[in-house]
Point group: C2
């Protein structure tokens, strides 16, 4: 089953009071772009996402950061990205979202306007994005590549904190029919600093004054969710309990089915990256994006499995049987990524390059096909 | 006189059969952008040019290359440039130029369309540009920064030769009322190679088949006009004699009044750069851009002196009287550029930095204020 539904015990029909949002994150455009086999992977996945948005006539696309893999993407990556956004986001259809918050506060570009309201642009599907750690503002003028896309009119870049210590998160306030959506964006901030700020209650989440309870409160952030170290992640219970749903960017493993946090009473969805940037198990699980439909203060999240993703198999194989394993794969997954091969003393002297070249037509990553570890007698295995 | 008219013995009235083109070149956007005093100079001049285009309701802007000073401009420069183009070139007015040539041949971007005909963009003033040697295609994917602006819809980048040896120049064919305009663009090509190609008749200028004599033939190129060496420039008589007017980019000195070449029977205008990128005499002459009006096969070129240009004085001053000279300048040209100061043996030991700091509020270039040469007895002077 490629499509499945997560629903918080209700169902939503297509109507004028529902806001439809295509949710994705960590597209890492330009990842490995010089690789002759994998160079287009990030763009193909992003195009599939844009196509899903268009086919499903969503009201907006919401991205969770790391749109670009490099802080300074090449001209080719920037070119491809703008080309895709221009192809899919512009069109004759109108975007029916009312924009209620102060755009000069939400957006820092010099036009201070949401792109679909610019009279000289016909934006059919507005893209809203925060920055990640890969594409954060930096350098002369302290701009992000997202600023270039914003000033060009192709995305709406939000969630950049103006102050270092007192962080104010001012939501985008959107309305369609009776549904009111507040989107709280928090672009990547250095982990320790945000941890401290949240702990010390120095992150102000600005709520609408009028009828605060009528809003669906959606947050998107780009931070560690895994506790690699005590202060380098965001504990879920540091986030405000008035939120309904949190879209967690930065973590690349697709855990898109919303998980209820019983303490804070909100759900968290972690869409994961749309391209595997490291050959680890978390990236080998199927990749999805979400179609979020919000009606009143309820929501439904339908997930779509991305079909352009290159198959990636992590398996433990004895080197003596690797040939059989590779050649047994059906033709259609010839260009798979593969990882982890066991070896023992018989293969001590071993040239990875020569080895990989044998499989050049069968795998997409002949150069980093193997992750070696030494088989221990029987007590277990340890990575080298 | 800031505005003056050059006219080829006729006059043109405002009408529906005339094509109006704002002509400029070598804007070198981003030049010295980190300089606290001069950092905005290139952008101010470019904005003045765009404003002139808008105020005069031109049909198009034609740029002669080196729009950017750096091959890879900073994000800030790219941001400022797009911001200016968006502010001045988009608008409610329609561009009334008929576009008759094959756009897929004229433009190499993936949309292959002139920007003012894109149904999702409201371009009021289309910008057409060739590349110069500062902003030529290069790097991974062999793209120019102009390609980014093209795929974004902000300029129409043309004049890039697809082949190295057989250069074909396919004109933009534009029509308004009874006036037909063919624009031949030739982006910068390495000097020796173009010299050889022109000499060997390997540059094909494609003329419209039907009624070739009804077209006004305009060429824009970006090459050396000065013969610094025998084969590193384009001799004027290497260019086709069916041309009516040539806009010569790359040379920074403003020699905008058209000069008749009696051998080839065409005129040449050299607008010069809109920012002084080197402190030499050629850059100290007043900077202008041109308002070219074409009607039938006649034209008129009205020049506008740019008012945002920082005053630049090249003078020879004895070091003993420099103070008097600087402080005698009127307040309004306090931020002038200044060059060439004579010194003699009394000033042998001399710290330029300390010297310049005295005039930090009076000149824009305190750090490179002086170009030293030694006064020779009376026989004449020689630069050091
Ligand atoms: Mn990421
Ligand atoms: Mn990240
Ligand atoms: Mn130049
Ligand atoms: Mn040049």
């Amino acid at each position: 089953m490629d499509q499945s539904n997560y629903s918080r015990s209700f169902s939503i029909n297509e109507d004028d009071n529902a806001i439809k949002v295509l949710v994705a994150t960590d597209n890492h455009l330009g990842f490995l772009e010089r690789d002759p086999v994998r160079g287009q992977d990030s763009f193909k996945a992003f195009e599939e996402i844009l196509k899903l948005a268009k086919d499903n006539q969503v009201d907006m696309i919401l991205l969770g950061g790391d749109l670009f893999h490099e802080n300074k993407p090449t001209r080719k990556t920037l070119y491809n990205t703008i080309s895709l956004l221009r192809s899919y986001c512009m069109g004759p259809r109108q975007c029916n979202l009312q924009f209620l918050s102060d755009q000069t506060v939400n957006f820092s570009d010099s036009f201070s306007t949401v792109n679909y309201q610019d009279p000289y642009f016909n934006i059919e599907i507005p893209v809203f994005s925060i920055h990640g750690n890969h594409d954060d503002p930096s350098g002369f003028g302290s701009l992000a590549t997202l600023d270039i896309l914003a000033v060009s009119g192709y995305i709406n870049y939000f969630g950049r904190s103006q102050q270092v210590d007192n962080i104010e998160v001012t939501p985008l306030l959107l309305q369609k029919g009776t549904t009111k959506l507040a989107v709280y964006g928090l672009g990547h901030i250095r982990e320790e600093r945000l941890h401290r700020a949240l702990r010390d209650k120095q992150v102000k989440m600005m709520r609408p004054i009028e009828t605060p309870d009528e809003w669906f409160n959606l947050m998107v952030l780009h931070q560690n969710r895994q506790a690699h170290a005590p202060t380098t992640y965001v504990p879920e219970n540091f986030l405000e309990d008035f939120l309904h749903l949190i879209i967690w960017g930065h973590e690349h493993e697709c855990l898109i089915d919303p998980v209820f946090n019983s303490e804070q009473k909100f759900d968290i969805t972690q869409p994961g990256s749309s391209v595997a940037t490291s050959l680890v198990e978390g990236e080998a699980t199927p990749k999805h994006v979400g179609l979020l439909t919000i009606k009143g203060t309820n929501y439904e999240l339908k997930k779509f499995r991305l079909r352009t993703i290159r198959p990636f198999i992590v398996d433990e194989i004895d080197l003596t049987s690797l040939d059989d394993f590779l050649y047994s794969k059906p033709k259609e997954i010839q260009n798979l990524l593969i990882d982890k091969v066991a070896y023992d003393d018989r293969f001590k002297i071993f040239n990875i390059r020569i080895f990989g070249d044998q499989f050049i037509d069968h795998v997409a990553n002949p150069r980093d096909l193997l992750f070696f570890y030494r088989k221990k007698s029987s007590k277990g295995k340890r990575a080298v």
